[in-house]
């Protein structure tokens, strides 16, 4: 979490709050060690198996990768268009429903009415389990669903930009932020209208859905592994695009200084269009992956997840793509490992507590001051 960063160490003298946080963190680590060793010293210690810690960490990484992937688009629109996009969460929902519609279509074609498949519904006696969307039984469906999620959400994000944000391009960030809340409501309730408001399961249960890596003594859920591979792949593609392509360099240039980009001859609107396609597409892909992780889908899940995504982006340093990824991982790991000490109902609170602590100690975030680069 960057606590070895020298600038943080330097600020310890000036700010005793840091000492307090370090103390608390140290205490938790000692307690963790005691728990793992099975030692119990008064309030410290208890019992915790290394397996449980390992699985907590792994599921934290998986959630963190999904949140980090979602945060990339939010950070990009923040740094290049200078506003906090509150419709970002509903872009996740957009990607999840359109993507799963395509996944269902491919997995269940022939047995179930098309309309039910495309709207991600159970039909009559055919449950989602019968449709059988699973990475092991219908890998093509799951992968094409991911592509569809990316493509459809990119289109929706671009349409929202043309309808609402482009006419407001010269307005201040607060006005556009408020417009984005309106756009979020429109998207959310269009989704509810088309897909319905009930929560339902989407993934099929497949026997032996864990992939065993015998030599390493690991057993990993196939969907978790799919999510991790897809998220890391998309992040690497994003990194390559930002650092190695002309378009990516222009995006970083615009994030650095929009006025200078203009007089340098960078076509701002083309870069903005690309930003929506990539940022929106990644949001859709992460929404699709989040549903793959949870196994259930509901029309407002993206909106409910938005706060956590903002927490990750702020933690990482808003405006930085790499910060969003790092912040997502921190939030995800805190989210799952906090259940070692506190009831799981409070794990979101733990994630926000870490974010607030970060803001107090290092207001610019982990990658603060670095925009997109």
């Amino acid at each position: 979490m960057g606590t070895t960063d020298s600038s943080i160490v330097d600020s310890a003298r000036a700010r005793p709050g840091l000492l307090l946080v370090a103390l608390l963190g140290g205490l938790l680590l000692v307690d963790l060690a005691a728990k793992l060793a099975g030692v119990s010293l008064g309030p410290v210690g208890g019992a915790l198996s290394a397996d449980r810690l390992g699985s907590n960490l792994w599921s934290g990484v998986v959630i963190g990768l999904v949140i980090g992937l979602a945060g990339i688009g939010l950070s990009m629109t923040y740094s290049i268009l200078s506003f906090a996009n509150f419709s970002h969460g509903d872009l996740l929902s957009t990607g999840a429903f359109t993507g799963w519609g395509v996944a269902f279509l491919i997995a269940g074609v022939g047995d179930v009415p098309l309309r039910a498949l495309l709207t991600v519904r159970d039909a009559g006696s055919a449950t989602s389990g019968d449709i059988g969307a699973h990475i092991l039984s219908t890998p093509i469906a799951i992968l094409l669903g991911l592509l569809a999620a990316f493509a459809a959400t990119a289109v929706v994000a671009l349409a929202l930009d043309r309808a609402f944000y482009k006419p407001m391009r010269d307005r201040d960030g607060i006005s556009i932020l408020i417009a984005s809340i309106g756009a979020a409501l429109i998207v959310r309730y269009v989704i509810q209208f088309v897909y319905g408001s009930d929560r339902r399961g989407v993934t099929a249960s497949v026997e032996a859905s864990n992939l065993a890596f015998a030599p390493l003594g690991l057993s990993v859920n196939a969907h978790d592994l799919t999510i991790a591979v897809a998220a890391i792949g998309l992040m690497l593609a994003m990194h390559f695009m930002l650092q190695r392509t002309k378009l990516g360099t222009a995006m970083r240039a615009m994030a650095d200084n929009k006025d200078l980009a203009l007089v340098t001859g960078i076509p701002a609107e083309r870069v903005v269009t690309a930003t929506w396609i990539i940022g929106g597409g990644l949001a859709g892909a992460s929404g699709y992956l989040y549903v793959l992780l949870r196994g259930t889908i509901q029309f407002d899940f993206g909106w409910l997840l938005l706060l956590l995504i903002f927490a990750a982006v702020i933690l990482g340093g808003i405006g930085s793509v790499y910060g969003a990824i790092a912040g997502g991982l921190v939030i995800g790991i805190v989210f799952t490992t906090s259940t070692i000490w506190i009831p799981s109902d409070f794990n979101e609170a733990a994630a926000f507590a870490v974010m607030i602590t970060m803001l107090l100690l290092r207001p610019e975030g982990l990658f603060g001051g670095v925009t997109t680069a």
Partner: protein, 264 residues
């Protein structure tokens, strides 16, 4: 072409003797690549420039001086379409460039180096230069080499982030970026601003060399005396209007110009 204002009657071609009087003919008789006529411009409802005339001939080195708030930078920004245009003519190489997007103006052959924040701090030196040639399909490697030859320190620092460079080196990156497309006219907004005094002369030498290689230069400078010594012609702007226009050394020799605008 001439919207000639009444001349003071003195010989504008007078050599740089003391007490010569600066001319007030603001236009050139011959061909000019940049031609501003009766230009009115400002920001929103606020008018800064009124009836400004200005010419830059092919390969010429022209500088604009004047007190703070005279509208010097506004002239440059108006050429680039960054201000509110109100009235008048903005022509480059015989065609109106009013209303063109900055990327089109760059395509026409004008490069612009803004006064401050004129590099992308998070991009490497090389990436900054590449952005200067964004409108080309391919990165022009030979042109980047030419820029490195002109500013050898940039070759050494090519992988370094521009934000970590010194002020003088940043100014070189900014100029190099504006020169990437080999413009016919380079607009420089206070190139010596923020530079350590011992670097100012070096910067002016570099501008001389850019001009010697055939690029016309239009420059705004606070360091008016040095700028007038170096340039071919100078414009003195006051309150957004033309006041004097003459060869640099004539302006330097004019007592009124010296007293009122050059600090004695």
């Amino acid at each position: 072409m001439s919207v000639e204002e009444s001349d003071s009657g003195d010989d504008t071609a007078a050599s740089a003797e003391a007490d010569v009087e600066a001319g007030t003919t603001h236009t050139l008789d011959g061909d000019a690549i940049l031609r501003l006529r009766d230009l009115d411009a400002g920001y929103g409802d606020l008018q800064i420039l009124s009836d400004v005339d200005l010419d830059v001939a092919d390969g010429e080195y022209v500088t604009i001086v004047g007190p703070n708030g005279a509208g010097k930078s506004t002239v440059m920004k108006t050429v680039f379409g960054l201000t509110t245009y109100m009235d008048g003519i903005v022509e480059f190489e015989g065609e109106s460039i009013h209303g063109l997007a900055p990327e089109q103006i760059i395509r026409e052959g004008i490069g612009f180096v803004p006064q401050t924040d004129n590099v992308f701090p998070g991009l490497s030196v090389r990436e900054n230069l590449e952005m200067g040639a964004y409108i080309l399909d391919e990165v022009p490697e030979d042109r980047i080499e030419e820029i490195y030859d002109r500013f050898p320190i940039l070759r050494e620092r090519k992988a370094q982030k521009a934000g970590t460079l010194s002020g003088g080196q940043r100014q070189m990156v900014a100029m190099g970026r504006a020169l990437m497309l080999d413009p016919d006219l380079l607009l420089l907004d206070e190139p010596s601003a923020g530079l350590a005094p011992d670097l100012v002369a070096d910067m002016f030498d570099r501008i001389d060399r850019i001009n010697d290689s055939g690029t016309a230069v239009l420059m705004v400078e606070q360091n008016a005396k040095e700028a007038l010594r170096r340039c071919d012609r100078g414009y003195v702007l006051v309150n957004g209007e033309n006041r004097y226009t003459d060869r640099g050394e004539v302006l330097l020799g004019d007592e009124d110009v010296r007293k009122d605008f050059l600090g004695g």
